[in-house]
Point group: C2
Chain length 744, copies 2
Amino acid sequence: MEQRNRGKEAEKLKLLKISPWSVSCEDGSQETLDFRESVFSQGNGYMGVRGYPPEGEKKHGFERSTFLSGFFEYIKPGTTDMVNQPDFSVFRLVLNGRELRECTCTGFCEELDFRNGALTRRYVASDAEGRRTRVETVRFLSMADVHAAGVRIRLTPENYDGEVTLTAGIDGGVVNLPISDDQLTQNVEVAQLWGRITLRPAVKGGGLTALTDYSKRAVSMEYRLDDHGGNYAWEPAFADSFAGEKAVIPVHEGQAVTVDKLVAVYSYRDGASPAEAALAAADACAQRGFDGMLKDTASAWNAIWQAADVELDAPDEWQGGVRYNIFQLVQTDPRSDPHASIGARGLMHGRYKGCYFWDTEIFMLPLFLHTDPQAAKNLLLYRYHTLEDAVKSARGFSLPGARYPWMASDTGFEQCGTWDTGCCEIHITADIAYAVGRYLEVTGDDDFFRDCAAEILIQTARYWTERFTYDEASDRYNLLFVKGPDEYCGVTTNNLYTVWLASENLRLARDAVARMKKEYPREWESLRERLDFHEEEAAAWEDRMRKSVRRYDEERRLWIQDDTFEKLEPLNPADYKEDDIPLYHKISYDRLQRYQVLKQADVLMLMAMRPKDFTPEQKRTAWNYYEPKTLHDSTLSFGIHALMAAQVGRTEEASRYFEKSLFLDLRDVMKNTAREGIHTAALGATWQALVFGFAGLWADADGVSCTPQLPREISGMRFGFQYRGERYRVQIDGKRAQVERLGR
Amino acid sequence: MEQRNRGKEAEKLKLLKISPWSVSCEDGSQETLDFRESVFSQGNGYMGVRGYPPEGEKKHGFERSTFLSGFFEYIKPGTTDMVNQPDFSVFRLVLNGRELRECTCTGFCEELDFRNGALTRRYVASDAEGRRTRVETVRFLSMADVHAAGVRIRLTPENYDGEVTLTAGIDGGVVNLPISDDQLTQNVEVAQLWGRITLRPAVKGGGLTALTDYSKRAVSMEYRLDDHGGNYAWEPAFADSFAGEKAVIPVHEGQAVTVDKLVAVYSYRDGASPAEAALAAADACAQRGFDGMLKDTASAWNAIWQAADVELDAPDEWQGGVRYNIFQLVQTDPRSDPHASIGARGLMHGRYKGCYFWDTEIFMLPLFLHTDPQAAKNLLLYRYHTLEDAVKSARGFSLPGARYPWMASDTGFEQCGTWDTGCCEIHITADIAYAVGRYLEVTGDDDFFRDCAAEILIQTARYWTERFTYDEASDRYNLLFVKGPDEYCGVTTNNLYTVWLASENLRLARDAVARMKKEYPREWESLRERLDFHEEEAAAWEDRMRKSVRRYDEERRLWIQDDTFEKLEPLNPADYKEDDIPLYHKISYDRLQRYQVLKQADVLMLMAMRPKDFTPEQKRTAWNYYEPKTLHDSTLSFGIHALMAAQVGRTEEASRYFEKSLFLDLRDVMKNTAREGIHTAALGATWQALVFGFAGLWADADGVSCTPQLPREISGMRFGFQYRGERYRVQIDGKRAQVERLGR
């Protein structure tokens, strides 16, 4: 049994070929399909599709996943789910009267190209009579116009004359698979969120508008067919929820038939008339054509890579892996949309109901902050736009100010249903304030400070003011009933990470008030009045910053995670964990919280985020103490450990942790990529390990520093970043780093 | 607004007339109907009905509540609900072509008689033409044969000759109102748990068998009509789910028409053929007749009152109130059924999905323990019969032994869905062990000890062995992440109540092992082998008993509730609470847990349960410290405070708290009796305050003591109890108590 598992594992490791600019696979089997669908996911920030075969037929509607950024619907009072959208990829294919599933496939190859985002699938389908058809499909979501996508199918009879029947269109017959946020709960039901679907017939094209049942939220998808002059006899093929057409196409040996489907997608989020917008956009797509659109997309990607690429002198697999991480994160970021954020599985899977966590601000944001500040700003604007909900949420907890939800969707109201996490994992509010602070430090964006950041910082600080509990006996403030990033810590007191960042939040608010007064007196007057701010509030902030409880053991030079951590029962992880599958599958969550083990970095996380607050000795001590106790049962853990390992000079461990994060999905480290999709926080953590860890870059109000700590596998690296409106270029060769300012 | 509320309140106080042997009401308005339905609930332990009018028509199926003890069904995987049963009470009445709702009612009086459990309703219905009809209905559930019930309707035209149309039968058209166990969640959906319903026609009688949809659990109800020789022209009146008949009855001025419906109920829980059993039983009912059955019921109640009555020299309202509390608790106890227990709202409401809590063992059991030991034993046998589920539950928490669920139904698997309560309010396991210990002390039941108790005690002790966490630094055991009876305490460490009772559980197990070895060596050998018991286990128990952390402040002579209690923010309850409505409606649960306020007795609860473990001084100190901080936001709080007030000699406060508990539902103290039903734990707490508090009775292995502490309102009391197989009688006159042994 164990032997067999190891065998499977080895197979998975070599399943994908990771090249510097692409990932490919020559295994087209059903067993690996879900995994491949995850790793070959595509997106353009506006929409995302899992890498499912356009021409294949999956049994269930929920298995064909297409998501739109910020498109949610209620599944019960107060609880939303990200809506699985109509399937615009679908082509239905019958070869000489044979369904594709009756054929055997050989020569399979599938490749995702980072330079244009296109997914190409090629194989030869042979039927029982020995007729062989070369099949090639290409799909891309446009980066030049995020409402557009193209799907091409090309069929070439290798050894016969015959006919193929091709159906093309848009299929509204999809459902949601509502997924509990309890990691141990299996999903048992599907939900039909779509209500009325209106189909629109047209010649060589058509479309549909679907309305969600409850909120009547609309999506319109319009397609145009280009049969490359074939002039096949297309006939309408409409059904309940399918808008499409069908042609029986005569084919001849050695002659390719090519059909392109060009798609435009608009939703209620884009304005009042998504149907009209989609119609116009589809016509524009038809005019430009598949190849033109793909070319535009490649140009757009080229610009992204100019800003975000990290070139390595390292094995191809590392280079390709790094680009894959950046590529996937950029693909799923709603870049120009200030009303949406990035889900824990992006637009690549419905897990966690598409919700946004601290993952965005703490793990993913840094990449954008340094390579696309406008995109970073939009992620923070999403939080500004949900600030009002956060204020109402705080009231719901009988507290002033703003309390951001552990899980957010298109509303800022809590989407997490479990008490220990939803009520107690409150660091999210400080995380957002931290991210706002980092954004201001790195960009120097005064407008954002004045118009949005000051208000966020003041309202979140107000929350903390009363979330701390004053203890008269010790004249200190305790943070009671709190859960830190280490979710195996139980519900505890004075989690260091949370206390530290909450205090930081208070400091940022205090400084923001002072700066508003000084630099923007008129705007401050209006904000002060609107928020009914009183001077005593700042004094209360000061008091909590000074008197919050943070446990430091002078003798051991050790920062202690929380008040209960050292009371927990010791456990040797190696006795229980022999792979990277989370231990909560073997030992109950409830039991794990009484063992002295961490699910993921907690004190080390804090040190990674506030590198200047701790001495090298404190970092080393913390590493030596916490790292052996950490189970890495969260995908958020590896990258941060790689970063910290690099910082404390343990390059071999850094390299080992980095590989876990780098290949987390590509090698299915956690064994859940197939059924959960891409782990977006890990993508960002990989980038941080690389840039903040190995390259040793750090930019803040003091300026920029770069102290590389390359692992054995990397001899040099080159990348660009932005700081305070200017572009910089870093070149590292071994220990030597050169930072060049390129200007605006 | 406030003025008006006080006006309403005053009305509610005088709504009911409380007499020594009955409760009655002359208000028949719609506004008070839900409240009256709750307080006039009826039961016989096997079944229970809310006090809804047999002849009225309520709009919704869930508003006609009939429940059977232990009859649950799954509403989602792992979660059950108590099933609302077909309505056997219903009579449909049309007076001279007028619906009852078109008439005006005068002279209304409704009375519930504690001597036979009958609910009688009388009024005069007048129509627009001035025709007046006297209406009287009587309903009882038989205490002599718990499968039987009778409903009588008597109609007398006062000033006309005419006709009435009467429909009688059994209505399967009922649904469930699944109620969240979150006290703040509103109920929004009804659930249809019934699937196939088979109707059975017959002459002057009929019946139905209904099967739940999911588990195919059957209930059969059969009725017989007795029209007292009227020989009316009954015709079948069957519908989808209604089995019945109808007659148009000529009526004459001053002449009464009487129709009795005699009902028999059997379910899948009673054997393989509930339908046959119901048929035979209905025929027996018909033979005995309504008056004969009611007489039998009065005899059965007489026997119950012989054992359980508490006679007071006190105002009638107090005497009647005390009997009401005893009456309601006895009515809802499944007495002879060792596979069911008593829900938090008994058989009187679906709140908490009919689940069983610690309420049974800690609040209700003592009454039965002292007045009906066999009934007490059956309640504990329910826990023995779900021990296997508790063992499996412990495994689910990665722990050995048995872990009883916070909420149980017909399975012993956890029915509570919230993390802080369902996972952390673990004292339930120790509560059950405590109750087992009390049962053994008071009854001396050796068979139960040998056959059931020893196993329960050992398995529960094993759970605690690993639930404690050893702290090497202090050489002590902490109980981490625990919630005590005070549910406003957050999730904390070393809750004194839980630690104390857990240690007591370990002690009971240790003693049980020793006693089994000595007195039942053969049975022990078999049990030891079956449980795979090792001698080291007892040593581990000993270690935890000695080294568990219990905080006692020597200087203040104060037992401290838990490790965080004194770190909480002080709050003066009077500033926020001006009535008895729980504060969690005003301040969020999450916020309340950081205030130094108690939802209900915690340390005082422990002292009430273990009176000899604490000195009078410790009790006084605890009272002085905790009582002013207690919000009594649980109905479990008043009675225990009355008991403890009596014990610390504060008779005026005792009297005040006692009245809250005594009239909790009769005067709607918590303002939720209408929509939630009778609070069964408070019924038991009232009895404990009276007998353990005012009478000062205590029976344990040392014998029986009685030190009365009567409040001003009570000058004397007389009651019986049982101890070690013998009957005793207590007579108290002022400070003097006389305990007389009556023998077996």
